[in-house]
Amino acid sequence: MRKLMMTSASIAVFIGVAACSSTPEPEPVVVDEPEEVVVVEEPEVVVTETLPPVPTGPVKGSLEDFQVNVGDRVYFDLDQYRLAADAQAILQRQAAWLSSYPNVNILVAGNCDERGTREYNLALGERRASVVKNYLVDLGVDPARIQTVSYGKERPIALGSNDDSWAQNRNGFTQLISGAVG
């Protein structure tokens, strides 16, 4: 590197001398300092043209369809098992979807946050699962298609120990256990 820099400096001196050769100007002062050579690498520019993606959604009647277009979880307030308006809206979509795909059977799991004792939460989770089931049945889903289970506080989806995580963990989860497309 040092050798390279010296060479660069010598070339600069030579060019300077050549440029001034026609004039009787005094010889330029030779600066004996190496010039820094900065190499800037320019990124190679690759231009690719793509067509806009063809809008595709999950296959109708699939698990993904249910998750994306319907919603598989409803949430509960602290120590509550009442269905709020947004939860009811999701369950109405679930009921409609289930009526479109009558071969699908579901397992509704009731879940709780970690701020309760195991046994009480098992009872509360069972209550939440039943509330979801009953709401779906009221909307015309055959109760024979719906199983329920309580996981109490044993199956958290959010792993934090804060209000936001607890809110996510208080839910009724609708799992497709058979009959989905794909």
């Binding site: 309760g116 098992l122 209550r127 009953n134």
Partner: protein, 476 residues
Amino acid sequence: MSTLDWVIPVGESETGSYAMLKRLICAAFVGLLGSLSVATAQLEVVVDRADLKPTPLAIPNFEAIGVDAETSQLISDVIRSDLESTGLFTISPEEAYIQTDLNIEVAPRFADWKIIQSDALVVGTVEQITRDGNDLIRGSVRMWDVYGEELMRFEDSAGRQVSGRRFTTTPEDARRIAHKIADAIYTRLTGEDGYFDTRIVYIAETGPKNARVKRLAIMDADGANVKYLTSGAFTVLTPRFSPEAQQITYMSYEGGIPRVYLYDLRRARQEVLGNFRSMTFAPRFSRDGNSVLLTQATNGNSDVYIMDLQTRQSRRLTDHPAIDTSPSMSPDGRQIVFNSDRGGSPQLYIMNTDGSPRTCPSGGRDVACRITFGTGRYSTPVWSPRGDLIAFTKQTQGKFHIGVIGIDGRGERLLSQSYLDEGPDWSPNGRVITFFREAFPGASPTLWSVDLTGRNLRPLPTPTDASDPAWSPLLE
């Protein structure tokens, strides 16, 4: 395990400073029990919680006779560790001992033990013996009242006064000899039943929070000899020991929905308890071991049932649209405490086992009487083996506590506090409560024990994270 005691004629009464020692320890106990305890006539000094001074004991290594020194050392260490774990005793350091030529058959030089201020001196031997061609280990112990300068007699299992105690077992059970001897010493000095020769069943936990593996595990009460009873393929929760038999009842997700199971330790077999149509959970044996109380949830409504283990017939005990769960029976079998949110939040209620109305502490008559009225949410009530107290989990102001309350709803006392303290269970003598703790948000669960007075809070070491501890009865 066989027991053979040295029976000697009893002609001497308890006199001298040992009587004083015993009075002091009794006074400590009664004082600790506070207003819940009936003061006895002999009580002269009420020792306040903060003032309890542990009683110093000297327990030199037991003499090894025909066994390797490690076995005798192990037994001596376990005895010391058991007694020290109570918080009621300190063990004088071995370096301080002056007399080194102790003989179990000969009175010690009391002056040598007074100098180091040991109130009692424990002298023992560990021998190898052969019986019917089998090599066995025998531990023998005598205890001396140092200041009274006299032998302290034990009471054997048949209630006889004996000069010492002797326990014999197979070499692999050597630790149990130590626990038996420690129980004998504890009982002699406190007047309480021991609890060292016991086991604890619990849930061993491994893996991340969202994919936790929970296995049924059992260990000696001091944490030794951990064994896993289930594979971890299914989540299991809330094991409880039978107070009478080598049986555990617990809840398992094997088969998809939660059901109560029975596990027979002798046969190493499990079975579903009953043929309930829906989820069953929160099991607990009745005090006589003949029934299991449990909860069945039907269409979202949890109610308490009792199942007779002989006939396998079950009877519904509560019939209420609220959550009713976590039942626990009184020692006499007549009453049941349970957890219910029928009043709007989880609280503790007591009912008669036969369902008849009772007069409630708060006035009026009802089938179930609420006994908790403090601020907060109460759950997991467990009736003390002594009958006078109920242990519980309390949740208030963002913290969880283990506490005790009188069966009339009076004298509530909180014994612990952390981010999550949950699931108390009693030692068989009703002196100590074990529970599990997540010390701070995100902390792993570990086992703890605390004296019913709130003293002597200490961790119970386990190889993995652990929860839901439950105590066995004193082993035979």
